[in-house]
Amino acid sequence: MADHHSSAGKSENPSPSGSSSSRGQARPPRRSRILVEFLGSMNLAITLLVALAIASVIGTVLVQNEPYTEYLIQFGPFWHEIFAGMGLYQVYSATWFLLVVAFLVVSTAVCVYRQAPGILKDLRRYNLQVKEKSLRSFPSSASGELDQSQEDFLAHTRRVLKAQGFRAREKTRDGETVVAAMKGRWNRLGYVLTHVGIVVICVGALVDGQFLLKVNEWMGNVEIETRSIPESQVPEISRVPVSNPSFRGSVEIPEGASANVVFLPVREGYLVQDLPFRVELKEFRIERFSTGAEQSYESDLVIHDPERDEPYETTISVNDPLIYNGYAIYQSSFADGGTRVEMEAVPLGPGALRGVDFPGRVFDEREIPTPDGRQLTLEFIDFSKVNTQRLLDEEGEEVNVFLGPRVDMRLVDETGAGLYYRNYQNPIPQEGAKYFLSGVRESPAQEFSYLFIPADADDSMDRFRTYLTMLHDPEVRMAVAERSARNSGDLMGGEGGQQAIARTVAMLMQTFAEGGYPAVDAAIEERIPEGQREQMGGLLFQVLNAGLQSLYMEVLEEEGVVAITEAEQRWLEDAVSAINAIHFYGSPYFFRLDDFEHREASGLQIAKAPGESTVYAGSLMLIIGIFLMFYVSYQRVWVMARPADNGTGTQVVMAGTSNRHRVEFEKRFAHLKRWIIEQKNVGDSDTTDSASSKNE
């Protein structure tokens, strides 16, 4: 259904004579011309648009810039090789992708180059040499005979066209006058602006792309660094000099420290970009909402620039960067800057009361011997001061639970294997009681499983430590066991029986202390013949629990507690569960966070993007161009008049065209026809419509 209007864009001139499209057709095509033809062709443009779209889809579906090991796990070695080879892990900087963009830019530029001169010429050419035949072949055309004189008719026509916003030219030859009129020429300029805008945007983006860097990498002048080593040890070949015109990198600066480089992430590694100044972080602050969520964060920076006499001090925050000499410095994130943590290593076995002071600093590691003589290393990974959790309470209202400071660690053994731990400093309320929480997991991809150590009435861990110590003490165990046996003694008959029971209780307690319930189960299985296991097993667990209860009595007595409340009874259940869980915990120590000296680091993003204003200028052209194309309608009208054959009147043919809005233009043309040929009011017509008044 390709009608005249829709093909208007293709021929440079919506002229019915077809005169302009015959330009240069007689000449044999030269090779450069074929190339230009190809580059500027719509088919290529659409193919490129689609290719760009597909490449973009790939780039979002496949998470970009992950470590290569992750991809290897995800896709297996075969596909990993192929994907890596195609650059799918960094689609947007892959050579083929850049080529597609480059082709699109060239193609658009060629298209504009080919079309613009025609368009500009078109704006000045009114096409006065149209033939009547072609006017009659227009979809919007009309003709008639008036008894007006040609003169009067032309005068009238001029007035109508002018009032309707047309610019007109006319030409008379052999008594026949052609009035050619057009309006909405800005529409054609819109085409130029739109497409030039795209080219300008791409050029600006290219300037800001790490193009030079890529070239240097190809030439072997630059090599990416993949090891995580201190900045000072990065070799010269992985450093980018200050002269690099555009980059975007990030750096984390702890409070009180400074940096004169940023890190540019490149594929599986990074490069170090030198800066001509040094950025010092004086202080970092986080403002929080009442929920504990971050409201904003900001950094007090000092710029030490050798060019300046005095350091430059300023504060940046999210959405409020500093622009300094063409460098833009953004607040992008925050992290721990090496908080000092005072830890205590609490043995989760004998000697739980004799913890060892174990100070550390986030990002450091320390060795720690185990009770059984192995050598473990504790790595301090992270610290976080304010932690909250949003929960719904019984009535469905939201509540914020403040979890307090926490420290993340990893405990590694000689073989390099290790577990991750997350310990909270303060006891955390949970269903009416409070617990010291310690999460453990095998890898950062997993969820934490938590060890819940019940806090005592003073919100401390002391009671648990006392209980644990006593449980591991053979003498205490024996004494408690004897007391426990005496209490139930009469049932079992005689001194000898009591002794035997006491020994059993003590033995069970020891087994439980050393291996938890699984060990007790195993012991029962080993010692008691199958037939009696059910009955005896139940009895033994009762006996064990009685022993654990007696031990608790002992602890409470020492504390001076006389009446046992429900809360205290619950404490015992929790403590026994915790002791049982210790055997799944994987660490011989509980690392208790005692105190800390918080030090934060500010994550800065530093960029130099000289092409930015070019991109914005291109965007502005694009937007203006689009609006011109869409909302200024480009219309042409021709009116041809000659004296009628009978000599008194005037014979008229008129036609019109527009490159958009066919339906509207037809209405518009109908109006023109009514005014010009019929010379009647549109308002009188029976086919009223609203084309002339957009306000209904």
């Binding site: 719509m42 443009a45 648009l49 109508v160 309707q164 409201q295 914005y616 306000n695």
Partner: protein, 390 residues
């Protein structure tokens, strides 16, 4: 035979003549409201807020002139919103104790009314397809007006509610999926009503309101299943002046694309029925292909124009918040994909002269791309656009 030339109506009235008395009155009212607002709260506004006020007043005045129905509509919405805000006073708890707020005028109640009206409108338009009379269409349009009004009022009142929750949280309610869905429903409804008035093609409503109803259904699910309507403070990066213009601009874009897609559906239905059931009464109730095609182009054009602006604004915001105007974040990338989809559509139409079912299909597929850009990215891809995760 002919009227004297002087009397012909081709002389275009000048701009000032084209503005009627009621337009002047409306503009004066808008100005008065803006000046009052500034006089009362100017001391609390920074230059961006002031700029925003001027922009909003100017846009409203212009819209009122350009589309007269906007005048009464905006007055009613503003009055209801102010009434709701006034009823709240300083106490969020009044939302439950004051009848009007509890059942009609609060953010939450407004959204419920909007949803009900959207469904009623959809049903009425659908009935209109099967009757001879235009009455169901008129009813459908009335419900659509009320739905849009309720949605906008709900957002306005919610704006106040957020501040009542906690003054330090305050933000304009276009920051999470729940809020933007309300915006989108109101936006599509309004844009549609505009085209309906301009073209007189009421039969488009049966198709367009379907997508509005689908959005509403998602909104309700999201609200009831995920408690999406609860107010949460903003993450720092969203706390920006840019958001206020970036998000609504974007939704003019999405709205235009959504309408175009549904007209594409109408086109395809009509195309099929013309061959299979040419005598069907329903067929006569579906607007003609040329009319559908014309409105489809117009809504894609406005969608494309606004989406371009929104993308550029987004880039400028990103430059300020993340330190780069283009970082190939999934949301950005999908915006580009969406943009290219419609750039190609426009080219096919204007340089290749394609029309007909292919372009209609393309517009329908475009809605899927739009939906993915809008929702899918948040659901399936990770990125910096951290708000509105499902």
């Amino acid at each position: 035979m002919s009227v004297p030339h002087e009397a012909l109506d081709f002389e275009r009235p000048g701009l000032f003549q084209r503005i009627l008395l009621r337009d002047w009155a409306y503009m004066a009212l808008v100005l008065a409201v803006a000046v009052t607002a500034y006089a009362m709260y100017g001391h609390m506004m920074d230059r961006y807020d002031t700029g925003g006020l001027i922009l909003a007043a100017g846009m409203s005045a212009w819209l009122g002139w350009f589309w007269r129905s906007w005048q009464l509509f905006s007055i009613i919405v503003a009055a209801l919103s102010l009434f709701g805000v006034w009823l709240y006073g300083d106490d969020l708890a009044r939302g439950e104790s004051v009848f009007w707020l509890n059942y009609i005028g609060s953010g939450q109640a407004g959204v419920m009314w909007m949803s009900v009206m959207v469904y009623l409108s959809t049903v009425a338009y659908a009935l209109g397809l099967f009757t001879r009379s235009d009455f169901p269409y008129r009813v459908g349009a009335a419900f659509a007006w009320i739905a849009a009004g309720a949605g906008l009022m709900a957002l306005m009142v919610r704006w106040r509610e957020i501040y009542l929750h906690d003054p330090s949280w305050g933000y304009i309610p276009v920051a999470n999926l729940y809020e933007v869905f309300v915006l989108m429903v109101a936006m599509i409804a309004l844009m549609y009503l505009y085209y309906e008035q301009r073209t007189g093609q009421r039969g488009m409503g049966a198709f367009v309101m379907l997508v509005v109803a689908a959005s509403t259904t998602f909104l309700l699910w999201y609200m009831f299943d995920r408690d999406a309507h609860l107010v949460e403070p903003l993450v720092p990066a969203l706390n920006s002046w840019w958001m206020k213009i970036h998000v609504p601009t974007n939704f003019v874009g999405y709205g235009g694309f959504a309408i175009a897609a549904m007209l594409g559906v109408a086109y395809l239905v009509r195309h099929r029925m013309e061959r299979t059931r040419p005598d069907s009464r329903v067929l006569a109730r579906i607007p003609g292909k040329d009319a559908l095609d014309g409105v489809m182009y117009k809504s894609i054009a406005i969608g494309f124009a606004f989406f371009t602006i929104a993308t550029v604004l987004g880039a400028m915001w990103a430059a300020e918040a993340w330190g780069g105007y283009w970082t190939w974040d999934p949301k950005e990338t999908w915006s580009l994909i969406l943009w290219l989809t419609y750039a190609a559509w426009l080219h096919m139409r204007f340089t290749k002269g394609w029309r007909g079912p292919v372009m209609a299909w393309w517009a329908v597929i475009g809605l899927f791309v739009t939906t993915f850009t809008f929702l899918g990215v948040n659901m399936f891809l990770s990125g910096l656009h951290s708000y509105g995760e499902l």
